[in-house]
């Protein structure tokens, strides 16, 4: 029997996803038309022995999460529960805190995944790999290849080429260690908790020495990557399954558009019904486009490639949308042009207006390049990036909004370029 744990973080995490994360918890942000988490859940539910999916995070229970959970339970007919941490306990601390819940029913193994990754989720392959490597208790990290320079931004894995054992693990090193990086998707057996427990005990002892009053809390903060993997490397317990299928982090809004592109492409095999086709009376589509059935789109509009249109969106005559996400209830008036942007819930874009961002896509000539997590500012100037309109933003006719971020509920009255508009 199998389980899956998805680490969904909390409001203090994922700040690079602002202002979009002001409206909706990042794990529920729609990527390729469905909430980010749904891609994980779909992959898990395909495994025949998957009995339960647990979401661990420190969001307060809210309407969106509850609604998502009940819909997902109905759609996938599998138990899905949200376990709320009392504080941010780290990638290891969370699962350790809820170990009894995870182990109830005695699963032989369980997946642990970060919510903010976009992946093909080769879960069956990881299960097969685990059976063939090490003993019945070994753990598997999903790894992929990055280019040398970018590998420094991730957890780096040095492996034994013959046995696939993890010999050495360093999280975000400052000098080059390995071009195999940690994808944030793991397959553990119940024995992992012994190792986490050891670290927890040690932390407790350290806390006692320091006489801090919140010692218990700090002892419970455990990071899988720095505290567990680094220690387990070279002990014959940790293995890496390398994949060359698509994978990306989703840290910023720009990477949400890139992840959409990867998932939309995957729909050709997994969900062809989600891809819009050129049909009579419908808009012209180029490449992969997702259009929610409740969207209202003029037939002279041209959408795609890589466009997701949410529920109740209205798109007028002669509108062009490319490499963008249009969120629920937005309105794009006649002849407007939206490129490399995210248009927030309920926003309006006036006639002939142009909303344009700059993509930060990885170099297409480098098969191992990953999307950059650019800093917001460089040399004192805003780095050109995806344009984001928060919810209920009104863009007047005929203006241009270029490489800008507009916070929610703002009415603009002129053009803006390379600015954050509060």
């Amino acid at each position: 029997m199998l389980k899956a744990v998805i680490l969904i973080g909390g409001p203090q995490k994922g700040t690079r996803f602002r202002p979009l994360s002001f409206e909706v918890p990042k794990p529920l942000f729609p990527v390729a038309g469905v909430p980010m988490l749904q891609h994980h859940i779909e992959a898990c539910s395909k495994l025949p022995n998957m009995k339960e999916i647990l979401l661990i995070g420190f969001y307060q229970p809210n309407e969106e999460i509850n609604r998502f959970l009940s819909c997902a339970q109905q759609d996938f007919k599998i138990s899905i529960r949200y376990l709320q941490e009392y504080a941010a306990l780290g990638t290891g601390g969370g699962i350790y805190h809820f170990r009894d819940q995870i182990l109830s029913g005695s699963p032989e193994a369980f997946f642990v995944m970060n919510a903010d990754v976009c992946s093909e989720f080769p879960l069956p392959e990881m299960l097969d790999f685990q059976k063939e490597h090490g003993d019945a208790y070994s753990f598997v990290i999903l790894g992929t290849t990055a280019n040398r320079k970018q590998s420094l931004n991730y957890g780096c894995i040095v492996e034994n080429e013959q046995t696939d054992e993890v010999l050495h693990y360093v999280e975000k090193p400052s000098t080059f260690v390995s071009d195999i990086i940690n994808c944030g998707i793991y397959l553990f057996t119940p024995e992992i908790f012994q190792h986490i427990g050891t670290v927890f005990q040690k932390n407790q002892q350290d806390m006692l020495l320091e006489e801090q009053s919140n010692g218990w809390h700090r002892a419970e903060v455990i990071r899988l990557e720095q505290d567990i993997f680094t220690a387990l490397a070279g002990q014959g317990k940790l293995y890496v399954y390398k994949t060359d299928r698509f994978w990306s982090q989703i840290k910023s809004a720009g990477s949400a558009i890139y992840a959409s592109r990867l998932y939309l492409n995957q729909y050709h095999t997994t969900h062809p019904e989600r891809l819009a086709t050129n049909r009579e009376g419908g808009p012209k589509t180029r490449g992969n486009v997702y259009i929610h059935p409740t969207a209202n789109i003029d037939p002279t509009a041209v959408l795609g490639p890589n466009v997701s249109i949410g529920t109740g969106v209205t798109i007028g005559a002669g509108v062009r949308v490319r490499e963008s996400i249009i969120l629920h209830g937005a309105t794009l008036q006649d002849h407007s042009c939206v490129l490399n942007s995210i248009v927030g819930w309920g926003s309006t874009i006036g006639k002939w207006a142009r909303v344009e961002g700059t993509p930060s896509d990885p170099n297409p000539n480098d098969p191992y390049a990953k999307i950059d997590s650019e800093t917001l500012f460089r040399d004192g100037k805003l780095t050109p990036s995806i344009t984001i309109l928060g919810c209920n933003v009104n863009i007047p006719s005929e203006v241009i909004i270029l490489n800008s971020i507009v916070l929610p509920h703002k009415d603009l009255n002129r053009s803006f370029k390379n600015q954050i508009i509060l």
Binding site: G318, R320, H335, C337, L339, K351, R354, E398
Partner: protein, 360 residues
Amino acid sequence: MKALILVGGYGTRLRPLTLTVPKPLVEFCNKPILLHQVEALVKAGVRHVILAVSYMSELLEREMRAQEQRLGIKISLSHEKEPLGTAGPLALARELLTDNEEPFFVLNSDVICDFPFDDMLRFHQQQGREGTIVVTKVEEPSKYGVVVYEGDTGRIHRFVEKPQVFVSNKINAGMYIFSPAMLRRIQLRPTSIEKEIFPVMAEEGHLYAMELQGFWMDIGQPKDFLTGMCMYLQSVRQQAPERLRSGPGFLGNVLVDPTAVIGENCTIGPNVTIGAGVVLEDGVRVKRCTVLKGAHIRSHSWLESCIVGWSSSVGQWVRMENVTVLGEDVIVNDELYINGANVLPHKSIADSVPEPRIIM
């Protein structure tokens, strides 16, 4: 009567348009700049126009032959082989200008206004002196040469070139009328009329100023070309509104050549000139632009303050603004943003130009 038009050389300030066509032949509101001036001169009784050029153009010669026929006048080209300044060309054309005692006009070729040639002749004859300069009131006189003169008589006292402090807000509008006797003052060598000739004439009481009523613009560079276009179209609105296009989809003053084709759901204007054979596809928005002959603007694009060169093609969903000038036969690909680009002829633009620059 005669007129001398100082055409000058390569018209570099109006590049890239003047890389294809000599400046006098660039269409301003659907008529070559030169023709605005020549037709007004003919109406005032001029029968012989002399073009002072420093660069000979076959195209210009050919066009002038055609206009001679059409207007029934004589057009000569006076070609200075070395630079003669602003006065020298008059000396070069001395023979042509002095075959009778009538006064002659001299114009700067970049000037557009409601040409007051009849008034100038009358005023000059009344004064009975050697020279009359037309002056016009401007907002920023320190960019030009300022004229200081007596308000009631018009007698000019002095000139101040680009004054640092406010002296007067009247500037030399680039239009003169002279008596032939004045030519004895100019020798055939590089001479500045403002610095060497006028000050002497003013001192001798032979130079008078006539104030221009109505609009005036030096359209020698794209920004001013567009401003001048707005002024001219406003003047058309007042004097011959039937020339302008109106109706649904047209705002303000819009001049459209009858052979142009405009698609559905376009909004054109205010202040737009559309040349012969231009095609505007559906859903195009154009404001404060000149679109020259044969250009093609594809659907859903948005243009403001641009000059689109002859036979150029602007793609779909393009946004062009901020005095973008496309030379002849430029292609702008779909979905680009062009901000203040100056694009040389026969160029294809495949990437956005977010900040003003020149594209060679």
